[in-house]
């Protein structure tokens, strides 16, 4: 008797299990989107990532990310993981190959992410990489000042410089580029041996990748000068070339910030040069099978990534 009951119970359990899964499959086939009632799997980069910093700032939830988030190790890892998880949502840099990773980029506040919308400023999930130099005449030597000017010209205006920055993940307007060969004529300093000069940079850590690529590309074009990068955070960018630490042990020739310089505290009008050399754009992505969501507002991004909304059905 006992045995029979156990047998019967296990048979029932098996049946229930089978019907449960087949039900799921039907659901998936008929709606063609993953079950809209599914929970959202939030993916994030580790906290030292510049992309995460930019994304959390754009979504206005710095430090408030849901504890349920799944941490991935790189931009590519993020794309792969979201590409295999129908219920996943994450964020990558604009230069990512979306189709190859089986993910769909989402519009932000109704604007599609693309190079054009980033450059004209309508796509808001972006931040500028700004630079500022020491004041004219405040450099260690005349040669150094000329070299800094040449480098910034290369970084901002040359086709070669733009390509290098773009390859490292920055968004630039390549139509504005001029071949370095032409620009070099304005910088006679580049034709002499500069191996005794060391350029020092400071400021934002997020610019490190693009800046390092540009400096390394420029080295052989400008007499093999040396450089040291001491990137500690956007706050130090202005401070160490124009502000309180400009003559301290950590002084630098060019300071960087992954934001605009603040007009009240960081007065860049006295600098030899300042500006924006590229734009960093972040894109929210979902799995390609998830066709229910195509656009997110900032409020939606915030509530999804802080864990307020945990179900895809509530995103509409």
């Amino acid at each position: 008797m006992k045995k029979l009951t156990v047998l019967w119970l296990s048979a029932l359990l098996l049946l229930a299990g089978c019907s449960g899964t087949s039900g799921n499959n039907e659901n998936q086939n008929s709606v063609s989107t993953p079950e809209t009632t599914a929970t959202i799997n939030v993916y994030t980069r580790d906290s030292s990532s510049g992309t995460r910093e930019a994304f959390e700032k754009a979504g206005d939830f710095e430090g408030a990310l849901t504890a349920k988030a799944i941490e991935v190790s790189s931009n590519g890892d993020m794309a792969t993981k979201v590409g295999t998880d129908e219920n996943g949502i994450g964020y990558v840099s604009l230069s990512t190959d979306f189709a190859a990773n089986n993910v769909t980029p989402l519009n932000f506040e109704g604007v599609e992410p693309s190079e054009a919308t980033v450059l004209d400023g309508s796509y808001k999930m972006q931040r500028p990489f700004s630079f500022v130099t020491r004041a004219s005449g405040d450099f260690d030597s005349e040669e150094k000042e000329q070299l800094v000017a040449a480098f910034l010209d290369f970084l901002q205006n040359s086709t070669e410089g733009m390509l290098v920055v773009e390859k490292a993940g920055g968004v630039v307007d390549k139509t504005q580029g001029t071949p370095w060969e032409e620009l070099a004529k304005n910088h006679p300093i580049c034709s002499q041996d500069n191996s005794t000069i060391t350029l020092a940079t400071a400021g934002s850590t997020s610019v490190e990748k693009t800046l390092k690529a540009a400096l390394e590309a420029f080295q052989p074009l400008a007499g093999n000068f040396q450089f040291t990068m001491n990137q500690t955070g956007s706050g130090d960018g202005y401070k160490r070339v124009m502000g309180s630490e400009k003559d301290g042990a950590n002084k630098a020739d060019i300071g960087f910030a992954s934001r605009e310089f603040k007009a009240e505290e960081e007065d860049v009008t006295q600098a030899m040069a300042s500006g924006v050399y590229c734009i960093d754009a972040v894109v929210t992505i979902v799995n390609a099978a998830n066709t229910a969501v195509t656009n997110l507002t900032q409020a939606q991004v915030k509530s999804i990534f802080t864990g307020e909304i945990t179900n895809w059905a509530d995103v509409q």
């Binding site: 580790d46 990532s49 504890a67 941490e71 295999t84 996943g88």
Partner: protein, 313 residues
């Protein structure tokens, strides 16, 4: 004709030979000293770096040691660092892998050493050796591409939604595959070292081959097999690259659900290491100390168990 070699003994030559001998002795000693001091240096360096965040006057603000050791949340963005749950997760995944891999490894070793025909046995040993030499990153790619899909499918059978397959189960499966060659090759050596007379005695007493293999061979090789298990566990504890590709790196814990994401000590140390500075960098050395302590303690316990089961019974 010479009857004695004595007169050929050249005192000068002998002295030189002795000198060379002595020189080599010192050379060997130097080599041993060098490799020994490496361990000492590494341990010292990690200890010094890792203890710093808990000392008063630490430049990024002193950390609370108890909160670090028993915390159940790891969030760099909120400066909350607790490894308590990560230690538990690491133990679960490593011992889970051992549990899964150990019986398969021992049976495989038995097959290779005792049952398989000579040619097949040689081939299988080569396969196991090859498995052992595959770099962990390759295992990681395999796990991220295949094991997670398997886990995802398994979970869907139960109607559970996973994070694309990244889960504790995926970590356990991956580690089980990775430590399999370590345990197997150690077990093969141990089984091959068993005295053949013992087996013959068992067979002569009327025991079948299977009975002999399980009750005599395995029992005599127990100590060596156990050593293999300890080595395998060490590899499971220490694996970072492959694990972090499928663990999902949960921010809080501990994780007991097989289909939930997890976080291990090594993946914690690795995540974003190259891009970080300050406290977030230094604290990884503290995690390193915890990892070394965990490995040391579990090795000591296992060694004690080995002594107990290895010598008697």
């Amino acid at each position: 004709m010479e009857t004695s070699l004595r007169h050929q003994r050249n005192a000068e030559k002998l002295k030189r030979k002795m000198r060379i001998d002595k020189a080599f002795k010192y050379l060997f000693f130097l080599a041993a000293l060098l490799s020994g001091s490496c361990i000492l240096l590494i341990v010292l360096f990690i200890l010094i770096k890792g203890i710093q965040p808990f000392l008063p006057g630490y430049r990024y603000g002193q950390m609370d040691l108890l909160q670090f050791l028993f915390g159940t949340m790891w969030r760099q963005d909120q400066a909350v660092y607790g490894v308590g749950y990560i230690v538990i997760n690491t133990l679960i995944s490593a011992f889970g892998a051992l549990l899964l891999s150990f019986p398969i490894s021992v049976l495989t070793a038995l097959f290779i050493a005792k049952i398989a025909p000579r040619k097949l046995s040689a081939m299988l040993s080569t396969v196991v050796e090859l498995l052992a030499s595959i770099p962990s990153v390759v295992y990681g790619v395999f796990a991220a591409g295949m094991i997670v899909k398997l886990v995802k499918w398994l979970a869907s059978l139960w109607g559970i939604s996973t994070a694309g397959g990244s889960s504790l189960l995926a970590v356990i499966l991956l580690l089980a595959i990775m430590i399999f060659p370590t345990i197997t090759s150690m077990a093969v050596t141990a089984i091959q070292a068993v005295d053949h007379e013992l087996e013959l005695g068992s067979l002569a007493l009327g025991a079948t081959k299977t009975q002999t293999n399980f009750k005599v061979v395995l029992k005599s090789a127990k100590s060596g097999i156990f050593a293999g298990a300890i080595l395998g566990l060490g590899r499971a504890f220490g694996e970072a690259t492959a694990v972090s590709m499928v663990a999902g790196n949960k921010l809080f814990g501990p994780t007991f659900d097989l289909f939930d994401i997890t976080r291990t000590l090594t993946s914690t140390m690795l995540a974003g290491l190259k891009e970080t500075t300050g406290l977030d960098y230094d604290i990884r050395f503290s995690v390193g100390i915890v990892l070394m302590a965990v490995i040391l303690v579990s090795n000591l316990i296992l060694n004690a168990v080995k002594e107990k089961v290895g010598n008697h019974g």
